[in-house]
């Protein structure tokens, strides 16, 4: 804007009688137009987008370098007799002046149209609040640009005339207004923002318990589409006020999320119309003012999320229980029961043949004995799957040693607890390791695995890692999903790191007093 002032002053020089000053005034007389464009395009943040920068650079070049040839051939005497001489004049050539003049004017029109387009785009992208603030300035800017187009067009069409003078004078009005309107908007923005924070605090103080936080923030930021996302640190996920998971807006979607933090911990994200970083600062200030209410709502949302999760996990546990029973029934039916039936049959047949054909009876009884051994072995394995006796007898350490020694992949036992843990925790930890090792054997193609169980900060951390192919997805397999549910009952969590080619690490954290 200051540059515009100086440039305007330069234009004034063209009315001076001293030839050198007159010439400079004549030569640089259009620079003010470009500085004004620059101001308009850079408002309100003082930065130009790449496209806008190109337009402004082209305009500066046009009014300084581009205009030069004109002045080598332009003799002011051709238009006014009293004007001082043009010190840059090389040779008077009216035809050249006409040609260059028209070319420059046309280029000027094109540039002004581009500036107009940029302004309109800016207007379209602006948020409601921004529109309200900057409307007068944009209005004046557009008026100025339109006047300039008129001026340039007239100049090219009919040369110097009364109409041209009238339009020039008319364009002075919006030109003069631009800086005032811009300053006015800046001041008002500060005022409105300060007022918004004040009003918000007052409103929240009046009715802190009401679930109108979103509305209050929407009003304070003048953005009716505003949404609140609450951060659940345990899940590392945003949820809405009902506790349902939500995705933060993507970049370039026209929406932005500004996170509100306290002591370095994210509490919530305010999703609003995408604006420049300065506006985000304002959103952050408003959010900080509503910190307490946001934290309350976050806790509320967390509770709802937890309830939903529990409901779903209970459902799945029920399902798992049913499936487990069905599996047991099948195993018993197809395995031990069949064998016992066969055995009973063999024994009866043997009894019938005992006297007539002792050899056949002996064969039948031998067969019965084999069936019996197999049935016992199957029952043993089945019982181990339901609840490994060694776990309740000796605790997790010994039970995991057994699991490790049975795994088809070499398993290294890192840290193991030497004390007994609550039964439910031991069982959950055992099944985590069992399932993880089963997966290692089935899918990982690993050369070895490591198992560790450690107590830390009131939690038991169970970790099973392998050096296999990775790429396991807990969402896909029922095994890991079932584990997560088993853990959820104990308020525990399951994490799976399984980048392709980097091995898999299954980590369970179980609260343990």
């Amino acid at each position: 804007m200051v540059a515009t002032g100086f440039a305007w002053f330069l234009a004034g020089l063209s009315s001076v009688d001293v030839p050198i000053l007159f010439s400079i005034g004549l030569f640089l007389g259009s620079v003010w137009v470009v500085t004004t464009m620059h101001t308009l395009l850079a408002a309100p943040h003082g930065r130009l987008s790449t496209g806008d920068r190109r337009i402004v650079t082209a305009a500066y070049l046009l009014v300084t370098v581009g205009i030069l040839p004109l002045f080598f051939f332009f003799d002011p005497a051709s238009e006014c007799e009293e004007c001082p001489e043009n010190v840059f004049l090389v040779e008077r050539n009216d035809t050249a002046v006409d040609i260059f003049g028209t070319a420059i004017n046309l280029t000027g029109v094109v540039l002004v149209v581009l500036v107009l387009r940029s302004l309109v785009r800016r207007w379209r992208a602006a948020t409601r609040a921004e529109r309200r603030l900057y409307a007068p300035m944009y209005g004046a800017g557009v008026a100025l640009m339109l006047a300039l187009i008129g001026q340039l067009a007239l100049q090219s069409a009919i040369g110097q005339s009364d109409a041209l003078v009238a339009v020039s004078l008319l364009s002075m009005l919006p030109f003069a207004l631009v800086p005032y309107l811009f300053l006015g908007a800046l001041v008002r923005a500060r005022y409105v923002q300060g007022g918004a924070v004040g009003a918000l605090v007052a409103r929240l103080a009046e009715a802190p318990a009401e679930r109108n936080l979103r509305d209050a923030l929407a009003e304070a930021l003048d953005d009716p589409s505003l949404e609140l996302h609450y951060w659940l640190p345990e899940r590392r996920q945003f949820v809405d006020s009902d506790g349902r998971p939500v995705e933060p807006p993507e970049e370039g979607s026209g929406r932005a999320i500004t996170t509100i933090e306290r002591d370095g911990e994210c509490i919530a994200g305010i999703v609003h119309d995408a604006t420049l970083p300065e506006a985000q600062e304002h959103v952050r200030r408003v959010g900080a003012a509503a910190y307490l209410a946001l934290e309350n709502e976050r806790l509320d949302a967390e509770l709802r999320a937890k309830i939903d999760e529990l409901r779903a996990s209970r459902q799945r546990m029920l399902q798992i229980g049913l499936e487990e029973r069905r599996r047991l029934e099948r195993n018993l039916h197809d395995g031990a029961q069949q064998r016992l039936v066969a055995m009973a049959l063999n024994i009866r047949l043997a009894r019938a043949k005992l006297n007539d054909d002792p050899l056949a009876a002996d064969r039948l009884l031998a067969g019965a004995g084999e069936e019996l051994d197999a049935a016992l072995a199957e029952l043993r394995e089945l019982a181990r799957g339901i609840h490994p006796a060694v776990l309740s007898d000796r605790g997790l350490g010994t039970a995991l040693e057994t699991l490790a020694s049975r795994a088809p992949v070499p398993v290294e036992l890192a840290e193991l607890p030497d004390e007994r843990l609550p039964e439910a925790v031991e069982l959950a930890a055992y099944f985590v390791v069992a399932e993880a090792l089963t997966n290692v054997a089935k899918y990982a193609n690993a050369s070895h695995a490591t198992v560790g169980v450690a107590r830390q900060n009131g939690r038991v951390l169970v970790e099973v890692s392998d050096d296999g192919v990775g790429g396991a997805n807990p969402e896909n397999g029922t095994g890991l999903r079932g584990l997560a549910d088993r853990l959820a009952v104990l308020e525990g969590r399951l994490e799976v790191d399984s980048e392709r080619g980097r091995g898999t690490t299954v980590r369970a954290r179980i609260p343990c007093g």
């Binding site: 019996l372 019982a383 007898d393 020694s405 795994a407």
Partner: protein, 214 residues
């Protein structure tokens, strides 16, 4: 030979008692829980106690703990533990640092009378009897740079039978080879695994177990 039998299931206990009595053992006492067992063993000082692992009062591994106590206090009394499940950790605990006069068998082995009686006799005489399942778990453990991979299938079989606590004579009989052949296998195995040769059967068991559990 004098035996004390401990099992809380009367049916099974009676079965084992009858089986042992019919095969030349003298059953001097029967117990239904761990405390009763220790009392009877201390009173009768039998050659061997046959003990079910799961017994009152806690119905977990009371039998095993009683067995350990007996082994510590009465080293001359052999203890044969019967278990419903293969738990090599239990077997190794039970053996501890002496494989003499100790046994760990799956309960179903009782059905194979001849072998069962042989096992009880071996334990009573200061030898050892480990269940083949337990041994095969130990041998079958996945290892890095598995030294067992160097053994021939024959040697592997001999190793397993050795770990069970069988004598060369018994191994030879089982594999239908000469005792000389078994001896050669044993020397080769000890050489390949880098173990010092052990003269007595139960010391040999300990050496092999120590190797397998490492």
């Amino acid at each position: 030979m004098r035996v004390v039998v401990a099992d809380d299931s009367v049916l099974l206990r009676e079965g084992v008692v009858r089986l042992l009595s019919e095969n030349g053992f003298e059953v001097v006492g029967q117990a239904g829980d761990a405390e009763d067992l220790i009392r009877k063993v201390k009173a009768h000082k039998p050659d061997v106690a046959v003990v079910d692992i799961r017994m009152p009062p806690t119905n977990t591994d009371d039998g095993l703990r009683a067995a350990l106590e007996i082994r510590a206090e009465l080293p001359d009394t052999g203890v044969l533990v019967l278990s419903q499940y293969v738990e090599e950790g239990y077997a190794l605990d039970l053996v501890g640092d002496s494989a003499g006069g100790v046994g760990y068998l799956l309960k179903d082995r009782v059905a194979d009378v001849e072998r069962f009686v042989d096992s009880v006799r071996r334990v009573a005489e200061g030898g050892s009897a480990l269940d083949p399942e337990v041994v095969s778990q130990l041998v079958g453990r996945a290892r890095r740079d598995d030294p067992l991979a160097e053994l021939t299938p024959r040697e592997r079989e001999v190793l397993e039978l050795m770990a069970e606590g069988r004598s060369n004579n018994a191994i030879a009989e089982h594999m239908i080879v000469t005792e000389r052949a078994v001896e050669k296998h044993v020397t080769s195995i000890f050489g390949k695994l880098g173990l010092a040769p052990a003269p007595e059967d139960h010391r040999r068991v300990l050496a092999v177990l120590a190797f397998l559990r490492a």
